[in-house]
């Protein structure tokens, strides 16, 4: 019989120190194996499954609690220099993000609203969610380049920045999956009322960007294409597939671009002009790859998954290449994680 937990242990061993594995991860997995084997030997089929689920939940809970403890430890150990570096990073990142959000919301706002009135303020509010998944990674990239690129930042600061990037990726995913579609549809409804094309009792039809991730997933999964309220399913579902995978990929952009900018700033200090140029080129490159791959996905040259994930894949490869080049001078991310106190 194959013992459960082998894959989890192998993955955890890449990130945790020997001591953490010995004291925290291995005991949880040993419990899982013993309980599971007992249930198998005694022929308790359903209990075996519930043990598997409960043990996996316990494993991830242990990982989460341990991570929270580590973050608390990192925050406690921050020096004055670390705090200044992080303030600079997040301050610049927030400023760029706010500016980006305003620009990205202002363009469609100006296209719809000709005369500002009280109801158009609501419209502006609905446009903010669609701007955030783009402005967050851009803000993070410039924040990291500006905050960490001109100083020799500590490993603690870098790890904390990466954790914030991961959290923002999760936030972006929530936005792209549920909040943006709802806000987009609310915007359509409000805009239709303002320009006077709304027919009483009939809300405007939804486009692809107004479907939640669940709705898109359901449309792609079933051959019969379950009906979605206010949405006419097109004959060619390729655009739906590209849209679905792009949402997942775009949510990860914050993390990937942060990883790239951390790799760029890990080797040596750079001047402000150089950093600004690197940031602009990275953003330009990311979006050129994204739109080119999307077009290739839409015409069927590339599968939808590959088209959506192409920019992340390219930037991940670039990050690894930059890290490899600088690996003689700076340790790897997993070594950084191991070197932190448990």
């Amino acid at each position: 019989m194959r013992r459960p937990g082998g894959w989890l242990r192998k993955t955890a061993a890449r990130f945790y120190s020997a001591r953490t594995m010995e004291r925290l991860i291995d005991p949880v997995l040993a419990d899982l194996q013993v309980e599971y084997e007992n249930a198998v030997h005694e022929g308790r089929k359903w209990e075996r499954r519930s043990i598997w689920c409960a043990s996996h939940i316990a494993f991830f809970k242990v990982v989460a609690v341990h991570a929270a403890g580590r973050v608390a430890g990192i925050l406690r150990d921050l020096t004055g220099e670390d705090r200044r570096t992080l303030m600079r990073t997040f301050g610049c990142g927030t400023a760029v993000m706010l500016l980006g959000t305003v620009i990205l919301a202002a363009v469609p706002f100006r296209n719809v609203v000709l005369r500002p009135d009280p109801s158009s303020a609501k419209l502006a509010l609905y446009l903010i969610p669609q701007a955030l998944p783009i402005s967050i990674p851009v803000g993070l990239l410039f924040g990291i380049l500006w905050g960490l690129g001109r100083v020799t930042a500590s490993r603690r600061s870098r790890l904390l920045v990466l954790l914030v990037a991961a959290t923002l990726s999760v936030t972006s995913f929530t936005m792209l999956a549920w909040i943006v579609p709802a806000a987009n549809q609310a915007f359509r409804r409000q805009a239709a009322m303002i320009v006077g094309v709304s027919v009483v009792g009939r809300p405007p039809m939804k486009g692809m960007n107004e479907l939640t991730l669940d709705e898109l997933g359901n449309l792609l999964e079933s051959d019969a294409h379950q009906p979605v309220a206010l949405f006419r399913v097109p004959h060619d579902i390729r655009p739906l597939a590209v849209n679905y995978h792009t949402r997942w990929a775009l949510a990860c952009a914050s993390f990937v671009l942060s990883l790239f900018s951390l790799a760029l700033t890990s080797r040596r200090r750079h001047g402000s002009v150089m950093l600004g140029l690197a940031g602009c080129m990275a953003i330009f490159g990311y979006y050129v790859i994204m739109f080119t791959a999307r077009d290739l996905g839409l015409d069927g040259t590339l599968p939808a998954v590959a088209a959506a994930w192409a920019p992340n894949a390219v930037f991940l490869i670039l990050s690894v290449a930059v890290m490899k080049v600088g690996s003689r001078r700076s340790p790897t991310l997993s070594a950084n994680l191991r070197s932190l106190p448990s």
């Binding site: 194959r2 013992r3 937990g5 082998g6 242990r9 004291r23 925290l24 291995d26 005991p27 949880v28 997995l29 040993a30 419990d31 194996q33 013993v34 309980e35 084997e37 409960a54 043990s55 939940i57 316990a58 991830f60 809970k61 242990v62 609690v65 341990h66 403890g69 448990s342």
Partner: protein, 104 residues
């Protein structure tokens, strides 16, 4: 630079439950602790608590024999240390003095 503060020994409610059970049963596995605690300890957090208590020196752990066959992980068995026993008795007597209901 000032002199570092001496380490203050503390005992959280969960640590108290663990010590109480270990002193009563002498040796227990993590899952046995969860079962014996009647819901006061959870399997997702018990090892974090145990790891912290080991660092504080309240408990010690040893590895059990590995199960037969390849890939099996040995279980870790926990026991209270002398410091842990003293801590539990000091904490219990302190609590009895402060909260009379605790003594009943």
């Amino acid at each position: 630079m000032g002199k570092p503060h001496p380490r203050v020994l503390t005992l959280s409610p969960k640590e108290f439950v663990v010590l109480e059970l270990l002193v009563r049963h002498e040796e227990l596995y993590g899952l046995q602790l969860v079962a014996a605690s009647k819901g006061r300890l959870k399997r997702g957090t018990v090892y974090v608590t145990l790891g912290r208590m080991e660092q504080k020196g309240y408990i010690a752990s040893t590895l059990d024999d590995p199960p037969p066959g390849a890939g099996g992980l040995p279980r870790r068995i926990y026991a209270p240390t002398a410091l842990g026993r003293r801590m539990l008795s000091a904490w219990s007597s302190g609590a009895k003095q402060l909260v009379p209901e605790f003594a009943r």
